[in-house]
Amino acid sequence: MKWQYPLAAVALTAAFGLPFREYDAAKLLPVRTVQAAKTARGVKLVTEVGEAEGATWTEAVAALRDGASGDVFFDTAEQLVVCTPSLLPEILRSGELRPSAQLYEADALTDPEGLNEYLSAHESDRTVADARYDLLREGIR
């Protein structure tokens, strides 16, 4: 019994200083496909839960979150479609997307309706993790 009290104390203490946040599942808006392109005003972001623009990727994400009716959740994103390849390093550095998300390149932004199903049927041979690896390797060179 003597070990349980310190362990319980650690659990309670950790509850107030954990590196992850609590979500209300009812308000989550899971994103499955993210499209990003450079526009005249900066970066445009298109997802199933909405679209937004900002001067940078980070600002565009913040704008999307501000304008959404719930909690936009990028951790479920399965596909990243980049219309402007030069935008990719910025997206990767943000760490917003899961490494296993598949990476596609496209000419232009498209309607997100049905895009996830289409891309799931046409898997990419490159993931966000691969792109990160390439980015790191180029950085080392």
Binding site: M1, W3, Q4, L7, A8, V10, A11, L12, A14, A15, L18, F20, R21, E22, Y23, D24, A25, A26, L28, P30, R32, F73, D75, T76, E78, R98
Partner: protein, 477 residues
């Protein structure tokens, strides 16, 4: 033994039972002497007293002193097979409350066993149901229980140490073990513990369990109870010590460890493949019953990224329009489930079924349709509850119910981190428990621990559990 130790007089015995409405006293004249016959109505058989005790005494027309009458009654005239001289007044009183008829000859008394045959007959077990096993469950009468045990274990080496516990209840308690097989220190420890108990009464299962085990601060059972005589007998054959308490239709077995609690008596009633499959399912049920609500809270509230998107989507949709956070939803449902269970136990059997239908189906369905709870949360709590019912020991399942709550609360504070810490606490807690000196997790600390999870073929299971230190380690050639 000095049979004359302590004077037994009519005044003393009558004074002890003064005011007792069920106390019967009759004076009989034999020649010029008066002898007294005492019995407790309800505990004794009036017919047996008349036929086996009173009639032979009155038919003995030979004259003599009270001492001669006493000797003749003890050695020849009375038919009764059990005749015990009373040492003193207290001894006579004890015999009376145990169903004996006491006959006083001057200042000496003899107790004749005339116990009534009115007692509940052995019936099929109500909780530990069996398909193929014997249907002779324990009753409230310890002597009936020892006779049932003798029928399962004909060995003369079966030892039944009898003692009384409880200052006022004077409960007859029997310690059962097999001489030459059971580690004698286990039996000694059990007998010593019974000797140390100095309480008013030992009349409830909780009293037996807490006083015998030393009331350790744990919800986990340190004695295994069973209402099945075959399971009790099997326990003794494994080298464990049994405990039978008068008034309780149960037999207790010690030591106990986690592996024993996860073993159902039906495991030996079916083939080893089916039994092993069921045991694996039971261990899965243990994990599901214990962890699932906490895991759901941790995943839904803290780590939704760990869920497959389709599953997360399903959870989100099921949570849509539900006003309560996941943690309150789960804790509320767990509490409702426990309340429903308690209400079902308290109700008569027929009403209990209706209550389950109303509570589980009607209220549950209505609550989901009214968007008060989400279907996913209901499924999680129901699955955990059903998994808990799949465990063979109720006391063990009850302990897990408490820990399920604790783990869910910890998961609501710190997600998977809290759940893991809670599980570690549980592991540490279980590791620290012992039952009659045997570690609770003993079977899993050995290389052969897998034997607890799968049931080996019986002809390969030649050795008894080494943790019990049996004197005879092999159970077959």
């Amino acid at each position: 033994m000095d049979e004359r130790h302590g004077a037994v007089t009519d005044e003393h015995i009558s004074a002890i039972f003064s005011g007792a409405g069920d106390f019967n006293r009759r004076a009989l004249r034999i020649g010029t002497h008066i002898i007294y016959v005492y019995a407790i109505d309800g505990l004794t058989s009036g017919g047996d007293i008349s036929e086996l005790v009173v009639k032979p005494l009155l038919q003995d027309t030979r004259a003599g002193t009270p001492d001669e009458l006493y000797d003749r009654a003890l050695h020849s005239t009375v038919y009764n097979s059990v005749a015990v001289p009373c040492k003193d007044c207290a001894d006579a009183a004890m015999k009376l409350v145990n169903g004996f008829t006491v006959v006083l000859f001057g200042d000496r008394a003899i107790a004749f066993e005339t116990k009534t045959g009115e007692k509940r007959a052995p019936a099929a077990p109500e909780v530990e149901n069996t398909v193929k096993g014997p249907k002779d469950a324990f009753t409230e009468t310890v002597r009936t229980n020892t006779s049932l045990l003798r029928r399962h274990l004909r060995t003369p080496a079966l030892r039944l140490y009898e003692t009384q516990v409880g200052r006022r209840s004077l409960t007859n308690v029997t310690v059962a073990y097999i001489d030459g097989l059971t580690d004698p220190t286990l039996a000694e420890r059990m007998i010593d513990r019974l000797g140390e108990i100095d309480v008013d009464g030992l009349t409830t299962p909780a009293a037996v369990e807490e006083y015998v085990t030393g009331s350790r601060p744990t919800a986990f059972p340190l004695l295994q109870y069973t209402e099945r005589t075959d399971r009790f007998a099997q326990g003794l054959l494994e080298g464990r010590v049994g405990l039978l308490v008068d008034g309780l239709p149960l037999g207790y077995l010690a030591p106990v460890d986690l592996g024993m609690l996860m073993t159902a008596p039906e495991d030996r009633g079916t083939d080893y493949l089916s039994a092993s499959f069921l045991r694996i399912l039971r261990y899965l049920a243990l994990l599901i019953g214990l962890m699932l609500p906490g895991l759901y809270v941790a995943m839904a509230a803290f780590h939704p990224e760990m869920l497959p998107t389709a599953l997360l989507q399903a959870i989100i949709e099921s949570k849509h329009a539900v006003p309560f956070p996941t943690i309150f939803e789960i804790l509320g449902l767990l509490a409702a489930f426990e309340l429903l269970q308690e209400a079902s136990i308290a109700m008569p059997h027929s009403v209990g079924q209706s209550l389950s239908i109303i509570g589980g189906l009607v209220v549950g369905t209505a609550a989901v349709e009214a968007k008060i709870i989400s279907p996913a949360a209901l499924i999680v709590v129901a699955a955990a509850g059903i998994a808990g019912f799949a465990l063979p020991g109720r006391s063990f399942a009850d302990a897990l119910r408490l820990w399920r709550f604790a783990l869910t609360v910890l998961a609501s504070f710190a997600g998977l981190f809290g759940l893991t810490l809670g599980a570690l606490c549980l592991l540490v807690h279980l590791s620290g428990l012992t039952s009659l000196g045997v570690e609770y997790l003993a079977p899993f600390s050995r290389v052969s621990g897998s034997r607890e999870i799968v049931r080996p073929r019986l002809f390969r299971q030649k050795r008894r559990d080494p943790a019990l230190h049996p004197l005879d380690p092999k159970n077959q050639r």
